[in-house]
Amino acid sequence: MGTIHHEYMKSALRMANLAFESDEVPVGCVYVHDGKIIAEGMNDTNRSLCGTRHAEFLGIETILQTHPASIFEETDLYVTVEPCVMCASALRQLKIRAVYFGCANDRFGGCGSVLRVNSDPGVERPFPAYPGFYREEAIMLLRRFYLQENEKAPTPKTKKSRELKTDFSPLDLGKYVPRGEIEKLYGREMLDNLVASAAAAAAAAAAEADEESDPSM
C-alpha cells in the first residue's frame, strides 16, 4: 500500500496517537488543500466536557481562522474513523470535496454505516467518502484505548474485554464506494483483497460484530 492518500492518513494517525496520549478517544484528522496539510484535528470531548468537540470540528475552526469557508470546496479530509452523522452533515454544509477515512463507525457513522448523510438527497452537493486507509491501525488504536479504559473502570469487566483483539472482520468496501472507483483509488492490491475478503465475509456471515465504534466519535 502506498497511495498519496495513505501518506496523508499517516498524518491523521499521528493526530489520533496524540489524542490517545491525551486520554481522548483516539481519532485524528488532517485537511488537505492543494497538496498541503492546512489543518489538523484530534478528538477533544473529554477535556472540553463537550460531546461535539470531534477531531473534524477542531480542524474546521483552525481553517476558518485564516480562510473563507469557500476553501472547503477544494479541500479533502483525511480522518482515522468514519465521520459521525454530525460531522458528515457539517462537512456537507461546508461543501467539502472528499473524505478519506480509516475504519467504519458502526454506531454513529454518517458516511454509509448508520446514515448516508454524505450522499443522500440534500440541500448541498453530496461528497464522496472512501474508507479503508490504514483501517487496521485506526481500529487497533481504538481497541487499545478501550482496553485501557476498561482497566481503569472501578467495576471489573469480564476477562474477554481485557484481551486485545488483533483480528479484523473484512471491510465491505462496496457499501461505501462504487465498484468502478475502487481500483483507481486503492490500487490493484486493495481490489484483490476486497474480492478475497468479500468471499471470507460470505463464509463467516455470523461473525461477531466489529468494534469500530464508540460513544464519542
Partner: protein
C-alpha cells in the same frame, strides 16, 4: 380568534402563572420569571412577531372550556414501531434453584442470536405467563420459565435438547414436573417497546418484555405545566430572534433549560453571518456554552475548595436538560443533541428541506429516535397558531 396584543397579555401571564404555581413552581422563582417576562417584552404595534403569551390569552377561554387543548405535538420518528411484531423463540421450564447454572451453561453453548432478545425477560415466574398450577405452587418446587434463544439462532429441537441434557441429570428426584427441560416454541415481541404502556400491551399473551423504566420514554401528551413553561421560553426565543435579525444574523435562537430548576442554563442565537462560520448554528453554540460553563465551574471549584473528588471523565452534560429552539435542527445539530444526551427537544417550525428530526423533513432521518443510535430524546413541535417567525430560506440548515 385573533390574538389581541395588549392588555390581555398581562392577564394571560398571570393566568399562566397561577396554573404553573399550582403545579410545581417555587414561588420566588416564578415570580422573578413572571416579572422579567412582563418587563422585557416590548409591546409595539409594528413588531413583526406575535407573542406566545398573547396566543395563550386568546385561547385561554377556549382552553378552560376544553381542557384538552394542546399547543405541542410530539414528533415521532419513521423508526417508531407501533405494531407488535413477534419472533419464535425456544423456551423451557426449569427448577428455580437451578436458574443460575442453567443460564451460564447455555451461555457457553448458544451461538450468537441473530435477534437481539435483550429487551425480553430471561426468566419468568410461571404466573407471569400463565396460571401456575396450584398444587405445584403449594409444594416448594418453584419453577421458572426460561427463554433460551430464537428459533432462527438454533432451528433444531434436537440441538436444544442436546444443550439441555446435562442439566436434566441434575434435577433432584422428587421434582416430577414433566415440563422440566422440555423445549417449547413460544412467541415473543421482536422489538423493545417504546413506552411502559406498550410494553405491557405487547407482553400480554406473549413473552414478557423487561421494562427498564426509561425516563426518556415517549409520553403521549405534554403535561400542561410544561406547555405553560415552554410558551414563556418561546417568548424569550422570539426576543432573541428579533435582536439577531436587527443585528444582521439569521433569526434562529436556542435555549437550554433545566426543567428541575427552570433555570436557563445557556442561550444562543445563530452567528453564521458575523462569524463567517457556516456551522455557527444556535444549537451548536448553546451546547458548547453549557460545556464551557461546567468546565469553568469545575476549574474554579477545584482551585477554591481543593476538591479531591475528580469529575467523571465522560460526563454527558446535557443529560436531564432540555433544548428549546425556533427551528427544527439540521442533521448536524440533531446529532449533536444525541452526543450531548439531551433529554427533550422542543421547537416551533419544521425545516422541510434540511431538518434532521421530522419524518417529512429532508431524507426523513428522525435522528431523535433512530434505533441504531445510542441515545433517543423526545421531541415536541409547536402546533399552536400565531407564532410568526421571521422568514428564512427554506434551504437553510437551522
Amino acid at each position: 380568534m385573533p390574538p389581541s396584543v395588549g392588555s390581555s397579555r398581562t392577564t394571560t401571564v398571570s393566568t399562566g402563572t397561577e396554573t404553573y404555581l399550582h403545579h410545581k413552581a417555587p414561588h420566588n422563582r416564578l415570580h422573578r420569571h413572571h416579572i422579567s417576562l412582563s418587563s422585557s417584552i416590548p409591546v409595539s404595534a409594528n413588531t413583526t412577531v406575535a407573542r406566545v403569551s398573547s396566543v395563550l390569552a386568546s385561547s385561554k377561554g377556549h382552553q378552560q372550556a376544553n381542557s384538552s387543548a394542546r399547543y405541542f405535538v410530539q414528533v415521532k420518528s419513521p423508526h417508531e414501531r407501533t405494531e407488535l411484531e413477534l419472533v419464535d423463540v425456544w423456551a423451557t421450564t426449569i427448577p428455580a434453584r437451578m436458574a443460575t447454572s442453567v443460564v451460564s451453561h447455555l451461555k457457553q453453548e448458544l451461538p450468537k442470536d441473530p435477534h437481539s432478545l435483550l429487551h425480553l425477560r430471561r426468566l419468568v415466574k410461571e404466573s407471569d405467563v400463565e396460571q401456575q398450577d396450584s398444587a405445584l405452587r403449594a409444594s416448594d418446587q418453584v419453577v421458572l420459565n426460561l427463554l433460551i434463544c430464537s428459533i432462527d439462532a438454533v432451528p433444531s429441537e434436537d440441538e436444544i435438547k442436546r444443550m439441555l441434557l446435562p442439566m436434566t441429570e441434575l434435577i433432584v428426584a422428587k421434582m416430577n414436573d414433566n415440563r422440566l427441560f422440555v423445549p417449547v416454541i413460544r412467541k415473543a415481541p421482536k422489538y423493545p417497546a417504546l413506552t411502559k404502556q406498550q410494553s405491557k400491551e405487547w407482553s400480554d399473551g406473549t413473552w414478557p418484555i423487561m421494562w427498564r423504566g426509561n425516563p426518556h420514554a415517549i409520553i403521549s401528551e405534554l403535561p400542561s405545566d410544561y406547555e405553560e413553561l415552554y410558551k414563556k421560553y418561546i417568548d424569550t426565543l422570539l426576543e432573541l430572534t428579533e435582536k439577531a435579525h436587527n443585528e444582521g444574523e439569521m433569526p434562529i435562537a436556542t435555549l437550554i433549560v433545566d426543567p428541575a430548576t427552570y433555570e436557563v442554563v445557556a442561550s444562543a442565537v445563530d452567528t453564521r453571518n458575523s462569524s463567517n462560520n457556516p456551522l455557527a448554528h444556535s444549537t451548536m453554540t448553546c451546547i458548547a456554552k453549557v460545556a464551557e460553563k461546567e468546565l469553568w465551574r469545575r476549574q474554579n471549584e477545584t482551585t477554591a475548595m481543593q476538591s479531591t473528588k475528580e469529575p467523571p471523565p465522560q460526563a454527558y452534560l446535557c443529560n436531564n436538560l432540555q433544548l428549546i429552539t425556533t427551528h427544527e435542527p439540521c442533521a448536524m445539530c440533531s446529532m449533536a443533541l444525541v452526543h450531548s444526551r439531551i433529554s427533550r427537544l422542543v421547537y416551533i417550525k419544521n425545516m422541510p428541506r434540511s431538518g434532521g428530526i421530522d419524518r417529512s423533513s429532508g431524507p426523513g432521518y428522525g435522528i431523535h429516535w433512530n434505533r441504531q443510535l445510542n441515545w433517543r430524546f423526545e421531541t415536541w413541535k409547536w402546533d399552536g397558531q400565531n407564532i410568526l417567525l421571521y422568514d428564512i430560506d427554506e434551504a437553510t440548515n437551522a
